[in-house]
């Protein structure tokens, strides 16, 4: 029963969602919408489960004296946001949104900005003309890099044109083939899941 019920549910919902795609009938759409609604609700609960697990792990870490100050910082942040939301709401001008705009958003943007530096170190190390393939990779990257700066346009009209050509034809051809492959791989995996052949999510018994 512990495996059969989940497998059956997976099968039923899989088939319904597959079938509704091909119908524009109202019933199909309303079934689809309610399943998606359920899906969102369940997802929200999984988030709460994750947060509970996170808090449990942090508290255990604190009781063992491992990284205590940092774990406390995380927990304070975690509790702070809901508390601010309860006290002042979440609309424009609330402390909740202030914390988002002045603490969370800048930190996230800065982690993202670290990428610029990592792009630099990867460029230095990763583009070596060791083989024919590596040379093609290197040369294409250089052409596109040059073609995308305004200065290159001033030197020669050809750069942007070559960049567009590479992007629109050979590069796109490869991307298309990758997408076709991924589409097929995803389709077969999804089919195995619906048929209950793929049961990774039921592991552990």
């Amino acid at each position: 029963m512990r495996t059969k019920i989940p497998l059956l549910i997976c099968l039923i919902f899989g088939v319904i969602m597959f079938a509704q795609y091909f119908s524009s009938h109202e019933l199909a759409l309303s079934v689809y919408n309610s399943i998606l609604e359920w899906w969102q609700i369940i997802f929200a609960f999984t988030l709460f489960v994750g947060v509970a697990a996170f808090m449990k792990n942090s508290l255990r870490g604190i009781s063992r004296g491992k990284d205590t100050p940092y774990k406390i910082i995380s927990l304070v942040g975690l509790i702070l946001m809901p508390v601010l939301a309860i006290i002042g709401g979440t609309k424009i001008g609330s402390p909740f949104l202030w914390s988002f705009e002045n603490m969370l958003a800048p930190m996230q943007a800065t982690v993202f900005a670290l990428l610029a530096f990592f792009v630099a170190s990867a460029s230095f190390r990763g583009f070596r003309a060791r083989t024919v393939s590596a040379t093609i990779l290197l040369v294409t990257a250089l052409i596109v890099l040059l073609g995308r700066i305004p200065m290159a346009e001033m030197i020669s009209e050809t750069f942007p044109k070559v960049t567009f050509w590479i992007q629109n034809y050979p590069s796109m051809a490869a991307r298309r083939a990758i997408l076709i492959g991924i589409g097929l791989g995803s389709m077969t995996t999804a089919l195995r899941v619906i048929l209950g052949i793929e049961r990774t999510y039921l592991r552990g018994e």
């Binding site: 919408n33 998606l36 969102q40 943007a109 530096f117 630099a120 170190s121 460029s123 230095f124 305004p150």
Partner: protein, 270 residues
């Protein structure tokens, strides 16, 4: 030189180059690419009071690149007296989208509820996108400020994609794909995108198969668009720093190879 020292050197080099270039700041004129031109012409030729939907499908972290893009597109729409319905499919894009819209609306003296409305955020974007094909009101019974969506004059006669001329998805990831695959494929909604430069290539197939109407991409796309509008914004300002950073990366790639070949020759000689 060991691995860490090389990294520090590369990192400090980048910081110096970008900061210096930003402080100097010369302005460039940029020729619009065909994709930017197509977006511009579409909005330019729309009749007054057409309804356009702006979806802020990005995170706070990509704001630096998104902001000039979104501002350019919003300004164009407000300037031509189009009606704008804003929303967000990324929680973090919500407050940003609202701020950007109110900011530009103020520049053009537009009124909330009449000329534009911001519906807020919906998680599980696929169902939101599909739901709006049936009824925008049902997906967003209230707007971001908590007013019933029905009360906004802009919403009278507008309830599904049939009433919307274009969805502009401002994105830093794959959300636009879902607009294309669900709103586009299922409801025949035209979709165009304002994308971070990183995302441009991944949308090429959609662009060339015309599933996606047009793309304005990256800081450069923003600069091109600002040019077309004959305005100066964040796009044009960052272009020198951008060029300098590009040249720096090219220099790194070239240096890396010179070192590699020199070492190989030395090793080969022994």
């Amino acid at each position: 030189m060991d691995r860490l020292k090389t990294r520090w050197l590369i990192f400090s080099g980048l910081a110096v180059v970008v900061v210096a270039a930003y402080l100097i700041n010369i302005k460039f004129k940029t020729e619009p690419s065909p994709a930017t031109m197509k977006a511009y012409e579409f909005i330019e030729t729309l009749p007054e009071s057409s309804v356009v939907m702006f979806s802020f499908d990005h995170e706070a972290s990509s704001l630096p690149e998104i902001q000039p893009l979104a501002l350019a597109l919003l300004r164009h729409a407000f300037k031509n007296d189009l009606k704008i319905i804003g929303l967000s499919l990324f929680a973090e894009g919500t407050a940003i989208g609202y701020d950007l819209m109110t900011e530009t609306a103020a520049e053009y003296d537009k009124q909330y509820g009449v000329d534009y409305v911001f519906l807020g955020f919906k998680p599980q974007y696929i169902s939101a996108i599909l739901g709006m094909g049936e009824s925008i009101r049902r997906v967003f019974p209230e707007d971001y400020l908590g007013n019933p969506t029905d009360n906004a004059p802009i919403m009278s006669g507008v309830d599904s994609y049939d009433d919307i001329t274009m969805v502009v998805s401002i994105a830093d990831g794959d959300r636009t794909v879902y607009w294309v695959e669900y709103a586009g494929a299922r409801y025949g909604q035209e979709v165009m995108a304002g994308l971070t430069a990183a995302m441009i290539t991944s949308y090429d197939p959609y662009l060339s198969s015309e599933q996606l109407y047009a793309v304005v991409g990256g800081l450069r796309g923003a600069a091109e668009y600002e040019n077309l509008l004959d305005q100066r914004g964040g796009g044009a300002r960052g272009m020198l720093a951008q060029s300098a950073a590009h040249l720096y990366i090219i220099a790194l790639v070239v240096t890396g190879n010179i070192i590699y070949f020199r070492n190989r020759r030395r090793r080969g000689g022994k």
